[in-house]
Amino acid sequence: MIFSPRFSLATVRPTGTQWLAKLLRALLFPFAGIVVFLMLWQGLAQSITTSLGQFPGPADVMHQGGVLVDEYHEQKEKAARFYERQDQRNAKKLAENPEAKVKWRTYTGKPTFLDQIIVSLKTVAFGFVIASVIAIPLGIACGLSDTFYQAVNPIIQVFKPVSPLAWLPLVTMVVSATYVTEDPFFAKSFLNSGFTVALCCLWPTVINTSVGVASIDRDLINVGRVIKLPRLTNIAKIVLPSALPMVFTGLRLSLATGWMVLIAAEMLSQNPGLGKFIWDEFQNGSSNSLSRIMTAVVVIGLIGFVLDRLMLVLQRRFSWDKAADLK
């Protein structure tokens, strides 16, 4: 039977039903998991009553999600009307007197949820880029020189577990003292949150990069020695590409840490992002505050997930190690 071609074909090629089973497994189980979770959530939510009313269930969150999007459109319309009025007013002034001084103001409405998401993304990107620019060279240096690693390691180990909330007051004071300009390009709250994020998401990249660099195949290093690559070329052509899969692993962990840290930092530094949104809703204490916060929680989770996937796509694009899979 083993030698009959039909038998071997059947085992090699997945048949229609096998394919369907695979698809079902990929979609059905996660879907089932989500449904069960939503039901549990709804059930539990109903049994929790707070001073701000019932704990929000999935339906409330869905509803608030819609409301938040509507608020965004409303604000946009308001802004559009504001600029329209301003344009008309200034045009009229100029028509009466071409020499007249006209003022152009920017609309200062309440930031909407979507604006706050964008601020958060910018802040985390700022912190993450700063951290990466420091962490990758530092990690390479640690991986290349054992002496340097021995010198730096205790410092890394001590600062690695420090909570962002401990850094924030220090960062705030330092930024206030050093960033003094008439016309600040960055808001101070933005810098405070960004630097706090950077301080906390340095470490995974430093550690993973140094491990990646230190564990390069000896033979590859020897190839570099035989062809007498200058030091910097050697790092660019052999060390860095070789360590790239580990560098990306570090970057992914760093971005995840950064996103988590950001929300806390924004709450305390009053950076107008998702953290501030949650804090303001908490202080506001209206009847739909809890469901708005819960919506933010879900959105924060979804964005974190998307950021991680983006890093994975980048990793696949730039890294030679195709073994990195979707996990």
Partner: protein, 284 residues
């Protein structure tokens, strides 16, 4: 006239945590230009240490290596290495791997077009032009080693050092690569020093087979001159009296005068058991 490559009474001692391990003791060998030398010996006899010292990847403790009269102190492309596990950069394709070496070695001496021609020429020597754009992970072990050889040749080395280059390959692929190596050696006339475990390979390829005694403190046990006419054909050689004579000398060296340490241990145990059997009263 000075010797082309003079391995002049080298010793190598490794010091780890205060204990001294002498790997090589007074290894002395003179090699003429264009010679094909194989180093053979049991595992742990210091063959790789010799090769790494020749490459400049390790320092000697005593003695020195002189290539065309000047002492070797560091690695360089004049002594290209073919590594046992090919050591190709996994993120570069076949062409890119050779290109990395060519760009580093001929920087400022060849223009882009000349470099491209030179890379292709070397890939042609090992019959790999058809797979220039393949990644190392997409080609077989034998093909990887061909690329490793092309990369080494592309450095235009004075001496080609090969560290058990075919050890990890199956017998048929190995035979193919041995043929290629002989063709290239005939065409380019380069000096080759190759480590091997394979007696037939040593006799087939070498002008001289250098047999190393067991370590620690390994030294050159004996040297066999292989005076077989070139080009050599595997099948014809099998019946050649000189071939069998050389082969027997190497085998004798490896399996009677210089048994592998593990074999010696095994024999010692056997002997001990026999003694125990012959004196049952005492054992009981």
């Amino acid at each position: 006239m000075t010797t082309f490559l003079d391995i002049s009474r080298i010793s190598k001692r490794f010091v780890t945590d205060g204990t001294v391990f002498e790997a090589l003791n007074d290894v002395d060998l003179k090699i003429a230009e264009g010679e094909f030398i194989t180093l053979i010996g049991h595992s742990g006899c210091g063959k790789s240490t010799v090769l790494n010292i020749l490459a400049g990847l390790l320092d000697v403790t005593d003695g020195g290596i002189f290539l065309e009269g000047s002492q070797i102190s560091e690695p360089g492309p004049d002594r290209a290495v073919v590594f046992q596990n090919h050591a190709l950069m996994p993120w570069l394709d076949v062409y890119g791997n050779v290109e990395l070496a060519v760009k580093a070695v001929f920087h400022g001496r060849k223009n882009d077009r000349e470099m491209d021609e030179w890379i292709r020429h070397n890939l042609e020597l090992v019959n790999m032009t058809h797979a220039m754009r393949k990644m190392p992970s997409e080609i077989s072990g034998g093909m990887k080693q061909r690329v490793g050889i092309a990369r080494a040749l592309s450095m235009q080395p004075k001496v080609l050092l090969m560290d058990e280059p075919f050890g990890a390959l199956d017998a048929l692929t190995r035979a193919q690569l041995q043929e290629s190596t002989m063709d290239i050696h005939r065409e380019l006339g380069n000096t080759v020093i190759m480590i091997t475990h394979d007696v037939d390979e040593a006799v087939l390829l070498s002008d001289r087979i250098v047999m190393m005694s067991n370590g620690p403190s390994a030294r050159i046990g004996d040297i066999v001159d292989v005076d077989l006419p070139r080009p050599r054909r595997r099948l014809e050689l099998a019946e050649h009296p000189d071939y069998n004579r050389c082969r027997k000398r190497v085998l004798d060296f490896l399996y009677s005068t210089n048994k592998a340490p593990s074999v010696l241990q095994h024999e010692a145990r056997q002997q001990g058991r026999e003694e125990a059997v012959s004196k049952p009263e005492r054992a009981a």
